[in-house]
Protein backbone atom coordinates (compact mmCIF):
# COMPACT_ATOMS: atom_id res chain seq x y z
CA UNK A 1 0.00 0.00 0.00
CA UNK A 2 1.40 3.34 -1.01
CA UNK A 3 0.87 6.29 1.28
CA UNK A 4 0.94 8.59 -1.74
CA UNK A 5 -1.80 6.62 -3.46
CA UNK A 6 -3.97 6.82 -0.37
CA UNK A 7 -3.42 10.56 -0.17
CA UNK A 8 -4.28 11.01 -3.84
CA UNK A 9 -7.39 8.85 -3.53
CA UNK A 10 -8.37 10.77 -0.42
CA UNK A 11 -8.32 13.93 -2.53
CA UNK A 12 -10.74 12.32 -4.98
CA UNK A 13 -8.33 10.75 -7.52
CA UNK A 14 -10.33 7.79 -8.77
CA UNK A 15 -7.40 6.27 -10.66
CA UNK A 16 -5.39 6.20 -7.45
CA UNK A 17 -8.31 4.52 -5.70
CA UNK A 18 -8.53 1.97 -8.53
CA UNK A 19 -4.88 1.05 -7.99
CA UNK A 20 -5.45 0.76 -4.26
CA UNK A 21 -8.50 -1.42 -4.83
CA UNK A 22 -6.61 -3.67 -7.24
CA UNK A 23 -3.80 -4.12 -4.74
CA UNK A 24 -6.21 -4.95 -1.92
CA UNK A 25 -9.06 -6.86 -3.49
CA UNK A 26 -7.33 -10.26 -3.53
CA UNK A 27 -6.65 -10.08 0.19
CA UNK A 28 -10.17 -8.84 0.86
CA UNK A 29 -11.69 -11.64 -1.22
CA UNK A 30 -9.65 -14.27 0.61
CA UNK A 31 -10.51 -12.90 4.04
CA UNK A 32 -14.23 -12.46 3.30
CA UNK A 33 -14.50 -15.96 1.83
CA UNK A 34 -12.76 -17.45 4.85
CA UNK A 35 -14.99 -15.55 7.26
CA UNK A 36 -18.28 -16.08 5.49
CA UNK A 37 -17.84 -19.48 3.79
CA UNK A 38 -20.17 -18.24 1.09
CA UNK A 39 -18.68 -16.91 -2.14
CA UNK A 40 -21.67 -14.81 -3.16
CA UNK A 41 -22.10 -13.11 0.19
CA UNK A 42 -18.34 -12.62 0.43
CA UNK A 43 -18.22 -10.81 -2.92
CA UNK A 44 -21.07 -8.57 -1.80
CA UNK A 45 -19.22 -7.79 1.42
CA UNK A 46 -16.01 -6.91 -0.45
CA UNK A 47 -17.95 -4.69 -2.84
CA UNK A 48 -19.70 -2.95 0.07
CA UNK A 49 -16.43 -2.44 1.93
CA UNK A 50 -14.62 -0.94 -1.06
CA UNK A 51 -17.51 1.32 -2.04
CA UNK A 52 -17.70 2.55 1.55
CA UNK A 53 -13.94 3.06 1.50
CA UNK A 54 -14.19 5.24 -1.59
CA UNK A 55 -17.13 7.25 -0.30
CA UNK A 56 -15.52 7.92 3.05
CA UNK A 57 -11.83 8.03 2.29
CA UNK A 58 -11.73 11.71 3.16
CA UNK A 59 -12.58 10.87 6.74
CA UNK A 60 -9.43 8.74 7.06
CA UNK A 61 -6.98 10.98 8.88
CA UNK A 62 -3.87 8.79 8.84
CA UNK A 63 -3.02 7.35 5.38
CA UNK A 64 -0.75 4.78 7.03
CA UNK A 65 -3.85 3.25 8.66
CA UNK A 66 -5.52 2.57 5.31
CA UNK A 67 -5.14 -1.22 5.47
CA UNK A 68 -6.32 -1.38 9.09
CA UNK A 69 -9.25 0.87 8.23
CA UNK A 70 -10.13 -1.29 5.22
CA UNK A 71 -9.99 -4.39 7.42
CA UNK A 72 -12.48 -2.76 9.77
CA UNK A 73 -14.81 -1.88 6.90
CA UNK A 74 -14.55 -5.42 5.54
CA UNK A 75 -15.29 -7.13 8.86
CA UNK A 76 -18.21 -4.79 9.36
CA UNK A 77 -19.48 -5.52 5.84
CA UNK A 78 -19.13 -9.26 6.48
CA UNK A 79 -21.12 -8.97 9.72
CA UNK A 80 -23.82 -6.90 8.04
CA UNK A 81 -24.03 -9.20 5.03
CA UNK A 82 -24.22 -12.29 7.22
CA UNK A 83 -26.81 -10.73 9.49
CA UNK A 84 -28.98 -9.84 6.48
CA UNK A 85 -28.63 -13.38 5.23
CA UNK A 86 -29.31 -14.84 8.67
CA UNK A 87 -32.43 -12.78 9.13
CA UNK A 88 -33.92 -13.01 5.71
CA UNK A 89 -32.87 -16.10 3.88
CA UNK A 90 -32.47 -19.76 4.23
CA UNK A 91 -29.19 -20.74 2.58
CA UNK A 92 -28.31 -24.38 2.56
CA UNK A 93 -24.60 -24.87 3.07
CA UNK A 94 -23.30 -28.16 1.72
CA UNK A 95 -22.05 -30.08 4.75
CA UNK A 96 -20.69 -33.52 4.15
CA UNK A 97 -22.14 -36.22 6.37
CA UNK A 98 -19.66 -37.19 9.05
CA UNK A 99 -19.64 -40.82 7.96
CA UNK A 100 -18.33 -39.77 4.54
CA UNK A 101 -15.03 -38.58 6.00
CA UNK A 102 -12.06 -40.39 4.48
CA UNK A 103 -10.45 -42.83 6.91
CA UNK A 104 -6.87 -43.97 6.80
CA UNK A 105 -3.37 -42.60 6.95
CA UNK A 106 -3.10 -41.68 3.28
CA UNK A 107 -6.13 -39.48 3.48
CA UNK A 108 -5.55 -38.19 6.97
CA UNK A 109 -4.63 -34.70 5.88
CA UNK A 110 -7.71 -34.47 3.67
CA UNK A 111 -9.78 -35.75 6.54
CA UNK A 112 -8.25 -33.21 8.89
CA UNK A 113 -8.98 -30.40 6.46
CA UNK A 114 -12.58 -31.59 6.23
CA UNK A 115 -12.85 -31.73 10.00
CA UNK A 116 -11.36 -28.27 10.38
CA UNK A 117 -13.74 -26.99 7.76
CA UNK A 118 -16.72 -28.48 9.56
CA UNK A 119 -15.48 -27.05 12.83
CA UNK A 120 -15.06 -23.60 11.30
CA UNK A 121 -18.56 -23.71 9.87
CA UNK A 122 -19.95 -24.35 13.32
CA UNK A 123 -18.40 -21.13 14.64
CA UNK A 124 -20.08 -17.75 14.45
CA UNK A 125 -19.02 -15.13 11.94
CA UNK A 126 -17.51 -13.07 14.76
CA UNK A 127 -15.45 -16.03 15.94
CA UNK A 128 -14.30 -16.87 12.41
CA UNK A 129 -13.37 -13.23 11.83
CA UNK A 130 -11.08 -13.27 14.85
CA UNK A 131 -9.48 -16.55 13.74
CA UNK A 132 -8.96 -15.41 10.15
CA UNK A 133 -7.48 -12.05 11.14
CA UNK A 134 -5.19 -13.72 13.68
CA UNK A 135 -4.06 -16.86 11.87
CA UNK A 136 -4.43 -15.91 8.22
CA UNK A 137 -3.51 -12.22 8.21
CA UNK A 138 -1.24 -12.64 11.25
CA UNK A 139 -2.48 -9.39 12.75
CA UNK A 140 -1.48 -8.53 16.31
CA UNK A 141 -4.27 -8.62 18.90
CA UNK A 142 -4.62 -4.84 18.98
CA UNK A 143 -5.19 -4.74 15.21
CA UNK A 144 -7.67 -7.62 15.41
CA UNK A 145 -9.50 -5.68 18.09
CA UNK A 146 -9.54 -2.57 15.93
CA UNK A 147 -10.78 -4.52 12.91
CA UNK A 148 -13.55 -6.27 14.81
CA UNK A 149 -14.53 -3.27 16.92
CA UNK A 150 -14.21 -5.04 20.26
CA UNK A 151 -11.73 -4.68 23.14
CA UNK A 152 -8.51 -6.72 23.16
CA UNK A 153 -9.84 -8.74 26.09
CA UNK A 154 -12.85 -9.79 24.04
CA UNK A 155 -10.57 -10.78 21.17
CA UNK A 156 -8.58 -12.98 23.53
CA UNK A 157 -11.68 -14.66 24.93
CA UNK A 158 -13.13 -15.18 21.43
CA UNK A 159 -9.86 -16.71 20.34
CA UNK A 160 -9.82 -19.07 23.30
CA UNK A 161 -13.43 -20.06 22.87
CA UNK A 162 -13.02 -20.57 19.12
CA UNK A 163 -9.93 -22.74 19.54
CA UNK A 164 -11.67 -24.76 22.25
CA UNK A 165 -14.71 -25.20 20.04
CA UNK A 166 -12.54 -26.28 17.13
CA UNK A 167 -10.68 -28.78 19.30
CA UNK A 168 -13.94 -30.20 20.63
CA UNK A 169 -15.24 -30.45 17.10
CA UNK A 170 -12.10 -32.26 15.89
CA UNK A 171 -12.22 -34.66 18.81
CA UNK A 172 -15.90 -35.38 18.26
CA UNK A 173 -15.27 -36.09 14.59
CA UNK A 174 -12.31 -38.28 15.51
CA UNK A 175 -14.45 -40.33 17.91
CA UNK A 176 -17.15 -40.63 15.29
CA UNK A 177 -14.65 -41.84 12.68
CA UNK A 178 -13.27 -44.42 15.12
CA UNK A 179 -16.75 -45.73 15.80
CA UNK A 180 -17.45 -45.90 12.07
CA UNK A 181 -14.20 -47.87 11.57
CA UNK A 182 -15.15 -50.28 14.32
CA UNK A 183 -18.55 -50.83 12.77
CA UNK A 184 -16.94 -51.57 9.39
CA UNK A 185 -14.36 -53.96 10.92
Amino acid sequence: MSRELVMLAREGDHDAFTRLALSSIGRLNAVARLILHDTTIAEDAVQDALVEAWRNLRTLRDPDRFDAWLNRLLVRACQDAWRRRSRRALVELPLRPIDDSPIGDVQSRVALADELERGLRRLTVDQRAVLVLTFYLDLPLADVAAATGVPVGTVKSRLNRSISALRASLEADSRHSSMASERLA
Binding site: Q47, L90, L93, L131
Partner: protein, 361 residues
Protein backbone atom coordinates in the same frame (compact mmCIF):
# COMPACT_ATOMS: atom_id res chain seq x y z
CA UNK B 1 -6.00 -34.95 22.90
CA UNK B 2 -4.93 -32.31 20.37
CA UNK B 3 -2.96 -29.47 21.95
CA UNK B 4 -3.91 -25.86 21.46
CA UNK B 5 -0.59 -25.26 19.70
CA UNK B 6 -1.30 -28.12 17.27
CA UNK B 7 -4.74 -26.74 16.53
CA UNK B 8 -3.29 -23.31 15.82
CA UNK B 9 -0.66 -24.73 13.48
CA UNK B 10 -3.19 -26.87 11.66
CA UNK B 11 -5.61 -23.98 11.46
CA UNK B 12 -2.97 -21.59 10.13
CA UNK B 13 -2.02 -24.11 7.40
CA UNK B 14 -5.64 -24.82 6.63
CA UNK B 15 -6.55 -21.15 6.23
CA UNK B 16 -3.58 -20.52 3.94
CA UNK B 17 -4.44 -23.61 1.86
CA UNK B 18 -8.07 -22.66 1.62
CA UNK B 19 -7.69 -18.93 1.02
CA UNK B 20 -9.05 -17.91 -2.36
CA UNK B 21 -7.97 -14.41 -3.39
CA UNK B 22 -9.12 -14.82 -7.00
CA UNK B 23 -11.26 -12.16 -8.59
CA UNK B 24 -14.84 -13.02 -9.41
CA UNK B 25 -15.93 -12.41 -12.98
CA UNK B 26 -16.74 -8.73 -13.43
CA UNK B 27 -15.93 -7.90 -9.81
CA UNK B 28 -13.56 -5.03 -10.59
CA UNK B 29 -15.88 -3.70 -13.31
CA UNK B 30 -18.79 -3.61 -10.88
CA UNK B 31 -16.71 -1.87 -8.27
CA UNK B 32 -15.36 0.76 -10.63
CA UNK B 33 -18.78 1.33 -12.17
CA UNK B 34 -20.16 2.05 -8.72
CA UNK B 35 -17.32 4.16 -7.38
CA UNK B 36 -16.90 6.20 -10.55
CA UNK B 37 -20.39 7.64 -10.08
CA UNK B 38 -20.47 7.64 -6.29
CA UNK B 39 -19.62 10.95 -4.71
CA UNK B 40 -16.98 11.05 -2.06
CA UNK B 41 -18.25 12.50 1.17
CA UNK B 42 -16.63 15.75 2.12
CA UNK B 43 -14.16 15.82 4.96
CA UNK B 44 -15.55 16.29 8.42
CA UNK B 45 -16.11 20.03 8.54
CA UNK B 46 -16.11 20.48 12.25
CA UNK B 47 -19.37 22.38 12.14
CA UNK B 48 -21.01 19.81 14.36
CA UNK B 49 -18.23 20.24 16.87
CA UNK B 50 -18.98 23.94 16.94
CA UNK B 51 -22.61 23.16 17.62
CA UNK B 52 -21.62 20.61 20.25
CA UNK B 53 -19.40 23.05 22.05
CA UNK B 54 -22.09 25.70 22.06
CA UNK B 55 -21.81 29.26 20.93
CA UNK B 56 -19.72 30.58 23.81
CA UNK B 57 -16.39 30.20 22.12
CA UNK B 58 -17.42 32.08 19.00
CA UNK B 59 -19.25 34.95 20.67
CA UNK B 60 -17.28 38.21 20.65
CA UNK B 61 -15.94 39.33 24.01
CA UNK B 62 -18.04 42.51 23.85
CA UNK B 63 -21.20 40.41 23.79
CA UNK B 64 -20.24 38.26 26.70
CA UNK B 65 -21.25 40.84 29.29
CA UNK B 66 -24.69 40.96 27.74
CA UNK B 67 -24.85 37.16 27.81
CA UNK B 68 -23.92 37.09 31.46
CA UNK B 69 -26.66 39.63 32.25
CA UNK B 70 -29.23 37.64 30.24
CA UNK B 71 -28.16 34.42 31.95
CA UNK B 72 -28.50 36.06 35.34
CA UNK B 73 -31.97 37.25 34.42
CA UNK B 74 -32.97 33.74 33.34
CA UNK B 75 -31.65 32.33 36.61
CA UNK B 76 -33.61 34.91 38.57
CA UNK B 77 -36.73 34.04 36.59
CA UNK B 78 -36.26 30.30 37.21
CA UNK B 79 -35.70 31.01 40.88
CA UNK B 80 -38.92 33.00 41.02
CA UNK B 81 -40.80 30.13 39.37
CA UNK B 82 -39.34 27.71 41.89
CA UNK B 83 -40.21 29.92 44.84
CA UNK B 84 -43.74 30.30 43.51
CA UNK B 85 -44.08 26.54 43.85
CA UNK B 86 -44.31 25.78 40.12
CA UNK B 87 -42.49 22.83 38.56
CA UNK B 88 -40.06 24.16 35.92
CA UNK B 89 -40.12 20.80 34.12
CA UNK B 90 -43.18 20.50 31.87
CA UNK B 91 -45.53 17.62 32.42
CA UNK B 92 -45.31 14.83 29.89
CA UNK B 93 -45.89 14.41 27.10
CA UNK B 94 -43.56 17.12 25.99
CA UNK B 95 -41.00 17.13 23.22
CA UNK B 96 -37.61 16.53 24.77
CA UNK B 97 -34.24 15.51 23.35
CA UNK B 98 -33.94 13.65 20.06
CA UNK B 99 -31.75 10.55 20.02
CA UNK B 100 -30.04 9.29 16.89
CA UNK B 101 -27.16 7.18 15.57
CA UNK B 102 -24.66 8.47 13.05
CA UNK B 103 -22.62 6.03 10.98
CA UNK B 104 -19.07 7.32 11.25
CA UNK B 105 -17.12 5.66 8.49
CA UNK B 106 -13.72 6.41 9.95
CA UNK B 107 -14.70 4.38 12.99
CA UNK B 108 -16.67 1.95 10.84
CA UNK B 109 -19.49 2.05 13.34
CA UNK B 110 -22.52 3.91 14.65
CA UNK B 111 -22.06 6.63 17.25
CA UNK B 112 -25.04 7.76 19.32
CA UNK B 113 -25.95 11.42 19.83
CA UNK B 114 -28.68 13.55 21.35
CA UNK B 115 -29.76 16.86 19.88
CA UNK B 116 -32.40 19.51 20.52
CA UNK B 117 -35.36 19.57 18.12
CA UNK B 118 -34.10 22.87 16.72
CA UNK B 119 -30.74 21.34 15.76
CA UNK B 120 -28.68 22.79 18.58
CA UNK B 121 -26.99 21.07 21.50
CA UNK B 122 -25.46 18.11 19.67
CA UNK B 123 -24.03 15.76 22.30
CA UNK B 124 -22.28 12.41 21.87
CA UNK B 125 -23.80 10.01 24.39
CA UNK B 126 -21.13 7.33 24.70
CA UNK B 127 -17.63 6.86 23.29
CA UNK B 128 -18.45 3.25 22.37
CA UNK B 129 -20.41 2.50 19.21
CA UNK B 130 -23.96 1.20 19.55
CA UNK B 131 -26.89 0.08 17.43
CA UNK B 132 -30.57 1.06 17.54
CA UNK B 133 -30.67 3.50 20.46
CA UNK B 134 -34.08 4.20 22.05
CA UNK B 135 -35.34 6.22 25.00
CA UNK B 136 -37.06 4.80 28.03
CA UNK B 137 -40.59 6.14 28.30
CA UNK B 138 -39.70 8.50 31.13
CA UNK B 139 -36.78 9.89 29.12
CA UNK B 140 -34.30 9.11 31.86
CA UNK B 141 -32.51 6.12 30.30
CA UNK B 142 -31.29 5.05 26.87
CA UNK B 143 -31.34 1.44 25.69
CA UNK B 144 -28.44 0.57 23.37
CA UNK B 145 -29.26 -3.03 22.45
CA UNK B 146 -27.04 -4.69 25.02
CA UNK B 147 -26.82 -2.00 27.71
CA UNK B 148 -28.70 0.83 29.36
CA UNK B 149 -27.02 4.20 29.79
CA UNK B 150 -28.02 7.54 31.24
CA UNK B 151 -28.41 10.46 28.79
CA UNK B 152 -24.99 11.55 30.04
CA UNK B 153 -23.54 8.22 28.89
CA UNK B 154 -23.05 6.51 32.24
CA UNK B 155 -23.56 2.75 31.86
CA UNK B 156 -26.36 1.73 34.22
CA UNK B 157 -26.77 -1.89 33.22
CA UNK B 158 -25.35 -4.42 30.76
CA UNK B 159 -26.98 -7.47 29.20
CA UNK B 160 -25.48 -10.58 27.69
CA UNK B 161 -26.45 -10.27 24.03
CA UNK B 162 -24.83 -13.58 23.00
CA UNK B 163 -26.25 -16.89 24.22
CA UNK B 164 -23.88 -19.26 22.49
CA UNK B 165 -24.42 -18.59 18.81
CA UNK B 166 -27.85 -17.14 19.46
CA UNK B 167 -27.88 -13.33 19.62
CA UNK B 168 -30.51 -11.22 21.31
CA UNK B 169 -30.59 -7.51 20.47
CA UNK B 170 -33.09 -5.51 22.49
CA UNK B 171 -33.88 -2.02 21.17
CA UNK B 172 -37.16 -1.22 23.02
CA UNK B 173 -38.43 -0.92 26.58
CA UNK B 174 -41.97 -2.04 27.34
CA UNK B 175 -44.13 0.94 28.37
CA UNK B 176 -43.98 -0.13 32.02
CA UNK B 177 -40.21 -0.70 31.58
CA UNK B 178 -40.33 -4.20 33.10
CA UNK B 179 -39.49 -5.99 29.82
CA UNK B 180 -37.26 -5.38 26.82
CA UNK B 181 -38.39 -6.12 23.28
CA UNK B 182 -35.75 -7.99 21.32
CA UNK B 183 -34.84 -9.52 18.02
CA UNK B 184 -33.36 -13.02 18.32
CA UNK B 185 -31.26 -14.63 15.63
CA UNK B 186 -28.55 -17.22 15.26
CA UNK B 187 -25.64 -16.68 12.90
CA UNK B 188 -24.40 -20.26 13.12
CA UNK B 189 -24.57 -21.73 9.65
CA UNK B 190 -26.15 -24.91 10.94
CA UNK B 191 -28.60 -23.13 13.24
CA UNK B 192 -32.28 -23.85 13.40
CA UNK B 193 -33.58 -20.74 11.65
CA UNK B 194 -37.08 -21.35 12.99
CA UNK B 195 -35.73 -19.94 16.25
CA UNK B 196 -35.36 -16.52 14.64
CA UNK B 197 -37.99 -14.10 15.80
CA UNK B 198 -39.20 -11.52 18.26
CA UNK B 199 -38.53 -12.13 21.96
CA UNK B 200 -38.78 -10.30 25.25
CA UNK B 201 -36.48 -10.44 28.27
CA UNK B 202 -36.79 -9.13 31.81
CA UNK B 203 -35.49 -5.55 31.96
CA UNK B 204 -33.92 -5.90 35.39
CA UNK B 205 -31.39 -8.58 34.40
CA UNK B 206 -31.90 -9.53 30.73
CA UNK B 207 -33.05 -13.04 31.69
CA UNK B 208 -36.42 -14.82 31.34
CA UNK B 209 -36.25 -14.99 27.54
CA UNK B 210 -39.78 -15.36 26.15
CA UNK B 211 -40.76 -15.87 22.54
CA UNK B 212 -43.42 -13.66 20.95
CA UNK B 213 -43.59 -14.60 17.28
CA UNK B 214 -44.29 -18.09 15.98
CA UNK B 215 -41.59 -20.19 14.31
CA UNK B 216 -40.13 -18.66 11.19
CA UNK B 217 -41.46 -15.16 11.77
CA UNK B 218 -38.64 -12.66 11.86
CA UNK B 219 -37.62 -9.13 11.00
CA UNK B 220 -36.66 -5.82 12.54
CA UNK B 221 -38.85 -5.12 15.56
CA UNK B 222 -40.52 -1.70 15.56
CA UNK B 223 -41.70 -1.38 19.15
CA UNK B 224 -44.45 -1.87 21.70
CA UNK B 225 -47.74 -0.06 21.33
CA UNK B 226 -48.01 2.74 23.88
CA UNK B 227 -50.37 0.61 25.99
CA UNK B 228 -47.95 -2.32 25.81
CA UNK B 229 -50.56 -4.70 24.40
CA UNK B 230 -49.29 -5.04 20.83
CA UNK B 231 -45.95 -5.31 19.08
CA UNK B 232 -45.05 -4.04 15.63
CA UNK B 233 -42.45 -5.51 13.27
CA UNK B 234 -41.73 -5.77 9.57
CA UNK B 235 -40.13 -8.52 7.53
CA UNK B 236 -37.95 -7.41 4.61
CA UNK B 237 -38.18 -9.48 1.46
CA UNK B 238 -35.11 -11.53 0.64
CA UNK B 239 -32.35 -9.24 -0.63
CA UNK B 240 -34.48 -6.13 -0.07
CA UNK B 241 -34.70 -3.45 2.60
CA UNK B 242 -38.49 -3.35 2.73
CA UNK B 243 -41.28 -5.80 3.40
CA UNK B 244 -44.74 -6.28 4.88
CA UNK B 245 -45.71 -4.83 8.24
CA UNK B 246 -47.10 -7.04 10.99
CA UNK B 247 -48.75 -6.51 14.34
CA UNK B 248 -49.04 -9.15 17.05
CA UNK B 249 -50.36 -9.20 20.60
CA UNK B 250 -47.62 -8.98 23.22
CA UNK B 251 -48.50 -12.52 24.33
CA UNK B 252 -47.93 -13.87 20.80
CA UNK B 253 -51.59 -14.11 19.77
CA UNK B 254 -53.37 -12.55 16.79
CA UNK B 255 -50.52 -12.13 14.32
CA UNK B 256 -51.79 -10.15 11.33
CA UNK B 257 -50.44 -8.10 8.47
CA UNK B 258 -51.14 -4.40 8.77
CA UNK B 259 -52.01 -2.68 5.47
CA UNK B 260 -50.55 -3.68 2.13
CA UNK B 261 -47.44 -1.49 1.90
CA UNK B 262 -43.91 -2.82 1.91
CA UNK B 263 -42.22 -0.64 4.50
CA UNK B 264 -38.61 0.28 5.29
CA UNK B 265 -39.38 1.48 8.78
CA UNK B 266 -42.34 1.79 11.11
CA UNK B 267 -43.11 3.42 14.46
CA UNK B 268 -46.15 3.79 16.67
CA UNK B 269 -48.11 7.00 17.01
CA UNK B 270 -48.17 8.10 20.67
CA UNK B 271 -51.96 7.60 20.77
CA UNK B 272 -51.50 3.99 19.60
CA UNK B 273 -54.16 4.31 16.90
CA UNK B 274 -51.89 4.46 13.88
CA UNK B 275 -48.39 3.68 12.66
CA UNK B 276 -46.00 5.97 10.84
CA UNK B 277 -44.23 4.16 7.99
CA UNK B 278 -41.74 4.97 5.25
CA UNK B 279 -42.40 3.07 2.05
CA UNK B 280 -40.68 3.70 -1.29
CA UNK B 281 -39.27 6.88 0.31
CA UNK B 282 -42.78 8.19 0.98
CA UNK B 283 -44.26 8.79 4.42
CA UNK B 284 -47.66 7.32 5.38
CA UNK B 285 -49.89 7.11 8.40
CA UNK B 286 -51.36 3.58 8.55
CA UNK B 287 -54.55 3.14 10.58
CA UNK B 288 -54.21 0.32 13.09
CA UNK B 289 -57.86 -0.75 12.88
CA UNK B 290 -58.32 -0.72 9.10
CA UNK B 291 -54.78 -0.80 7.65
CA UNK B 292 -55.68 2.16 5.43
CA UNK B 293 -52.66 4.28 4.48
CA UNK B 294 -52.78 8.08 4.28
CA UNK B 295 -49.86 9.87 2.69
CA UNK B 296 -48.15 12.64 4.67
CA UNK B 297 -46.49 15.12 2.38
CA UNK B 298 -43.93 17.75 3.28
CA UNK B 299 -45.68 20.88 2.04
CA UNK B 300 -42.65 22.62 0.60
CA UNK B 301 -40.74 19.50 -0.51
CA UNK B 302 -43.23 17.20 -2.28
CA UNK B 303 -40.58 14.63 -3.15
CA UNK B 304 -38.78 14.58 0.18
CA UNK B 305 -37.27 11.07 -0.17
CA UNK B 306 -38.09 9.98 3.39
CA UNK B 307 -36.51 6.76 4.66
CA UNK B 308 -37.71 6.69 8.26
CA UNK B 309 -39.78 8.73 10.70
CA UNK B 310 -41.07 8.94 14.28
CA UNK B 311 -43.66 11.14 16.00
CA UNK B 312 -42.78 13.69 18.64
CA UNK B 313 -44.00 12.61 22.09
CA UNK B 314 -46.92 15.07 21.98
CA UNK B 315 -47.81 13.90 18.42
CA UNK B 316 -47.71 17.40 16.99
CA UNK B 317 -44.50 16.97 14.94
CA UNK B 318 -42.70 14.30 12.94
CA UNK B 319 -38.96 13.69 12.93
CA UNK B 320 -37.83 12.10 9.68
CA UNK B 321 -34.71 10.92 7.88
CA UNK B 322 -34.36 12.41 4.43
CA UNK B 323 -31.92 11.01 1.87
CA UNK B 324 -30.21 13.36 -0.58
CA UNK B 325 -26.47 12.92 -1.07
CA UNK B 326 -26.53 11.58 2.47
CA UNK B 327 -29.14 11.04 5.19
CA UNK B 328 -30.04 13.96 7.47
CA UNK B 329 -32.71 14.64 10.08
CA UNK B 330 -35.64 16.97 9.48
CA UNK B 331 -38.77 17.94 11.41
CA UNK B 332 -42.25 18.86 10.16
CA UNK B 333 -45.56 19.64 11.80
CA UNK B 334 -48.20 16.92 11.72
CA UNK B 335 -49.89 18.54 8.70
CA UNK B 336 -46.64 18.63 6.68
CA UNK B 337 -45.97 22.32 7.24
CA UNK B 338 -43.10 24.01 9.07
CA UNK B 339 -40.28 21.86 7.73
CA UNK B 340 -36.83 22.47 9.13
CA UNK B 341 -33.53 20.61 8.93
CA UNK B 342 -31.83 19.71 12.20
CA UNK B 343 -28.67 17.91 11.05
CA UNK B 344 -26.55 18.66 8.00
CA UNK B 345 -23.54 16.47 8.55
CA UNK B 346 -21.82 14.70 5.62
CA UNK B 347 -22.28 11.36 7.40
CA UNK B 348 -25.51 9.32 7.44
CA UNK B 349 -27.93 9.41 10.37
CA UNK B 350 -29.31 5.91 10.96
CA UNK B 351 -31.62 5.46 13.94
CA UNK B 352 -34.00 8.02 15.40
CA UNK B 353 -36.12 8.38 18.51
CA UNK B 354 -37.78 11.40 20.10
CA UNK B 355 -38.08 11.24 23.87
CA UNK B 356 -39.16 13.28 26.84
CA UNK B 357 -35.79 13.99 28.42
CA UNK B 358 -35.82 17.73 29.23
CA UNK B 359 -33.88 19.95 26.88
CA UNK B 360 -30.65 21.40 28.15
CA UNK B 361 -31.16 24.99 29.33
Amino acid sequence: MTSERDIELQLRRHLVDRADPSLAQGQIDRLLATTSVARQRSRWSGSAHLVARGVGSIVPRTSRTALVLISAAILLLLGAIYLAGSNPRPRPPFNGLILFGRFEEAAGDTVVYTIHPDGTGLHQVTPEPAEEPHWSHDGQRILLGDRIVSPEGVVLQRYEADRGTFHVQCPFFSPDETRLLCEGFDDDATADLSLHGIYTVRASDGEDLRRVTPGGAYGPVDGYAPDGRKILFHTPHEGAQSGPLFVIDANGANLRRLGDLDVNSASWAPDGRSVLVASQRVLYRVDLATGAAERIQVTTIPDAQIVGAVWSPDQTQILFKRITTNIDLWVINADGSGVHQITSDPLDERYIDWGTHPLDP
